[in-house]
């Protein structure tokens, strides 16, 4: 076979990246008379807009015009679902950094300088900034929702042991290296074409059309690549795109809006910070009988995607553990802060962090190794007699491999030996402490919202035997385009260099879902394979007739088409089909089967399958400074049958390190005025090259392929590895366990050096 499937081939843009010739949105050739936009942001967290005086702005050098809510003929809304995110504040501002107006000028610098000249008068109103304030004032976006199984209260009452606790988990800035960027080119009549750095071109198309009061058919959106996204370019890309479109329409000129880093961090939403409290009942040997979990998440000033994020947080509140009686409640706290949004894991990481905290607390109470507690509570593996136990939302877990996966990882990483050695070390070393933890991940794959689990593809074959490939997914660095090209090439028996990977475009594949929920390859790969099968069937039928061969005998391999006893080149076959007037263009469509969800009962089968993995992390902490570092990480992760092991390993490593950043150094600090204090990398610390552990062993779990009927038996890998980083937090906690007083410290996240010191101080009290 000449196919590139299952091979660790390089990212399709690698050659362009290393030569600086890959075009990101801001790199696209922009005409000299094109215009540049800057935002005018609110400087209060909550207040009435009494007066917006833009006279000095308009007089500034290079300024062409300003845009405010009054310039919007259609809907003044950038929200993905609920209609509650104004493009420009209209009468009221709801967070510090909200867009109030925009300046359009001949250069970006002119626009930015001019924007600072606005005179905005506010009548300030009391602001609710924190989860605590929102809870005490009952300021929720909606009534709390819950998922429930069994009888939790009874289970708790009857349990031999009962424990309560809580954890605070910080948010996270996406920090995609390429900031939000959008360009709008006015076309003929009312038409508009946009280049946007977005995970969701279809939503941009809709939101732009709605703001302009025109039809979706008059707007086209294209995206070749993003310089990172991580969920932050799902709904958050709407605002710059709409504003660029408004400017292009108002001026008749191409218009570009690229956020600078400060702006990006102040304006856009982030990962939700959570407070989680629990009440758990368990047996003498650590078997969990009943669990009540309450999750409070800071949503910011509007819904954005918070409802779905809360659902996923609830659906991952039990992680990999079967708990017969369980209730989880999520309260969506409304605050005067940026509207928090999708971020790799989409609520799952916070849900899982809560559960792993509970396990560690149970272990400390019983004086047992937390791994033992974990193993005693795992969902039973597939193939065992107990397999198929239901989640709290009623989905039977039939594909579980976590038991065998953790056994193998624990053995290969010498977890037990190292743990004993570390415990001994800590007895002798009061200053430099070490800790180790092994934590599992079970992550549900599919969009929570069933309707989003669909995708389309468009495949053309040209008469020289090359392929034009397009699909609804977007490339953000994860390697989706490479994987889909591998799938497409394999279907025709062609190497990947015969397949043209083309930009996502709303005019080619319409009505697409966001590239999100780790589902890019699952959905678009299947749609592409479907298009290829249609084309192959047409070609096979025609060629079989030409050679008087059996249709079933036609095979596509080695850049050849085998017809009966004949072997003809794929190029010749394509030319013959064209000459025979056979259509060489086809669409493909895929909708994930078997999934369903009843939102009222909070029951169903929302996930097509689960992804599994586990990590062992060892850390060191300096007790006197709180400084800490990762010493060694061992990961075993299930990617099914990998379409591209190099790309999958990249996702695992990158996801883990990003998760480690979330739980250690990345801290979002808001001032009392609601202003984000950590709005640049000088104060917001994502992992640097030297933060990576010296030893990092990543192994792909040999599962024999996904039991679910996914594309080539692969498994989604975008989000699940992020949550392997819970092991970092557990290990840090282990390192300071029993240091001053007995028992487990209440270490919150992120466990910055300061947080560790404060925790130790708290323990001393």
């Amino acid at each position: 076979m000449s196919s590139d499937l299952n091979k660790p081939i390089a990212h399709d843009s690698a050659a362009l990246y290393v030569t600086g010739t890959a075009k990101f949105t801001d790199d696209i050739l922009f005409p000299d008379d094109g215009l540049h936009i800057a935002l005018g942001l609110s400087s209060v967290a909550h207040g009435k807009l009494v007066n917006v005086d833009l006279q000095e702005v308009l007089k500034a050098e290079g300024v062409v015009c300003c845009l405010t809510a009054e310039d919007i003929k259609g809907r003044n809304d950038a929200s993905p679902v609920f209609g509650d995110d104004p493009v420009f504040a209209d009468g009221l501002v709801s967070y510090h950094g909200q867009s109030v107006f925009a300046v359009v000028a001949h250069s970006a610098k002119q626009a930015r300088i001019a924007a600072l000249k606005a005179q905005i008068t506010y009548e300030e109103l009391p602001a609710i900034l924190t989860i605590e304030e929102a809870i005490s004032q009952n300021n929720l976006l909606r009534a709390p929702h819950h998922i429930e199984a069994g009888s939790v209260d009874k289970g708790l009452e009857g349990a031999p042991h009962r424990l309560q606790g809580q954890i605070k988990i910080g948010g996270q800035e996406h920090f995609y290296l390429e900031g939000q960027a959008a360009i709008a080119f006015p076309g003929e009549a009312a038409e508009l074409h946009l280049h946007v750095s977005t995970q969701h071109p279809t939503e941009i198309q809709h939101k732009v059309a709605e703001a302009l009061g025109i039809g979706f058919h008059q707007v086209s959106v294209q995206v070749r690549r993003m310089g990172g996204a991580f969920g932050g370019k799902e709904s958050q890309a709407n605002l710059p795109a709409i504003i660029a479109a408004l400017a292009a329409v108002k001026t008749g000129k191409p218009a570009k809006l690229v956020y600078d880093r400060d702006e990006d961090m102040r304006v856009t939403g982030k990962r939700h910070d959570f407070q989680i409290s629990y009440d758990v009942g368990f047996t003498n040997d650590g078997k969990i009988l009943a669990l009540n979990v309450e999750q409070f998440l800071r949503c910011g000033m509007s819904f954005d995607l918070s409802a779905a994020i809360a659902d996923r947080a609830m659906m991952h509140a039990e992680n990999a553990y079967f708990i017969p009686d369980m209730r989880v409640t999520a309260s969506l706290c409304k605050t005067h802060t940026p509207s928090n949004t999708a971020f790799r894991g989409f609520g799952g990481p916070q849900g899982i962090m809560g559960m792993e905290r509970i396990i560690d607390d149970i272990a400390a109470t019983l004086g047992l190794d937390p791994l033992v507690i974990r193993q005693r509570n795992f969902y039973p593996d597939k193939g065992t007699s107990e397999s198929g136990k239901p989640t709290p939302y009623g989905q039977p877990v039939t594909d579980c491999v976590i038991g065998q996966l953790v056994d193998r990882l624990s053995r290969d990483a010498h977890y037990q030996t190292r743990r004993l050695e570390i415990i001994k070390w800590n007895k002798d070393n009061p200053v430099l402490r070490r800790g180790i933890a092994l934590t599992p991940v079970k992550f549900g794959i599919s969009f929570n919202k069933t309707m989003l689990n669909q995708a389309g593809a468009l495949v053309h074959i040209y008469t020289d035997g090359t392929i034009h490939l397009n699909h609804g997914g977007t490339e953000m660095g994860q390697g989706l385009f490479t994987k889909i090209a591998q799938i497409c090439g394999d279907a025709f028996g062609l190497p990947i260099d015969r397949v043209a990977i083309t930009p996502t475009h709303t005019g080619k594949v319409p009505n697409s879902s966001a590239t999100a929920a780790s589902s890019g390859t699952d959905l678009n790969g299947m749609a592409t394979a479907a298009a290829a099968e249609t084309l192959k069937a047409r070609m096979a039928t025609y060629l079989a007739a030409q050679y008087q061969a059996d249709v079933a005998s036609v095979r596509f391999a080695d850049a050849q088409v085998y017809v009966g006893d004949e072997a003809i080149s794929f190029a010749k076959a394509a030319m013959m089909c064209w000459q025979g007037r056979i259509s060489l263009s086809a669409t493909g469509f895929y909708a994930t089967p078997e999934i369903h969800w009843d939102p009222d009962k909070a029951k169903g089968v929302p996930f097509y399958y689960f992804a599994y993995g586990a990590a062992v992390t060892e850390v060191a902490v300096d007790r006197l400074t709180g400084e800490n570092r990762l010493l060694r990480v061992d990961i075993l992760h299930d990617v099914g049958r990998s379409i591209n092991p190099a790309l999958d390993r990249g996702q695992i490593e990158g996801g883990f390190i990003q998760g480690a950043g979330w739980l250690t150094t990345e801290e979002l600090v808001y001032g009392k005025d609601g202003r984000l204090q950590t709005h640049a990398p000088a104060t917001y610390k994502i992992p640097a090259c030297s933060d990576r552990p010296a030893i990092m062993n990543i192994t792909l779990f040999e599962s024999g392929g996904n039991p679910a009927d996914t594309i080539h038996k692969s498994k989604a890998v975008g989000e699940p590895p992020f949550m392997l980083a819970t092991s970092v937090h557990s290990a840090l906690r282990h390192a300071i366990e029993g240091l001053i007083t007995e028992g487990m410290p209440n270490l919150d996240a992120p466990a910055t050096a300061e947080q560790l010191l404060m925790t130790l101080k708290g323990m001393a009290r």
Binding site: A14, Y17, T19, G20, L177, R225, G650, A680, C689
Partner: protein, 155 residues
Amino acid sequence: MAQLSIIVNGQRHVNEIADNILLVDYIRETLALTGTHIGCDTSQCGACVVHVNGISVKSCTMLAAQADGAEVTTIEGISDGENLHPMQEAFHEQHGLQCGFCTPGMVMSAIELVEKNKDLSEQDIREGLEGNICRCTGYHNIVKAVQTAASKMQR
């Protein structure tokens, strides 16, 4: 306004420029060399690294006027025609990239690191690249790429 005479990637450019134009803006806008990226505007992320007289510089915190008379090399200027620089080749082969936005700056910093230091240990590379942020990869393959290139460059 200032008179700027500068050699970029071997080619001399003479321009009348505003005093407050940053080197990165001059490179991206005036010369249309868009491989040099702006990631943070504040000299933290390293996406904008170029070589000025052979030294890695974050071009977002240097005025173009300060580079008057200098020789500047950007990511577009390091390959020898069709032949990639060993560092470019290594980042490609070792999968030292995902979204690619940090790659040009990372490659430029890595080249200077290797050129200026013999026998770099893995730890030296990790510390040497602290000024370049990558949000995607977790750095493992980047370090591997630099090691691979170093062995070729120092042969």
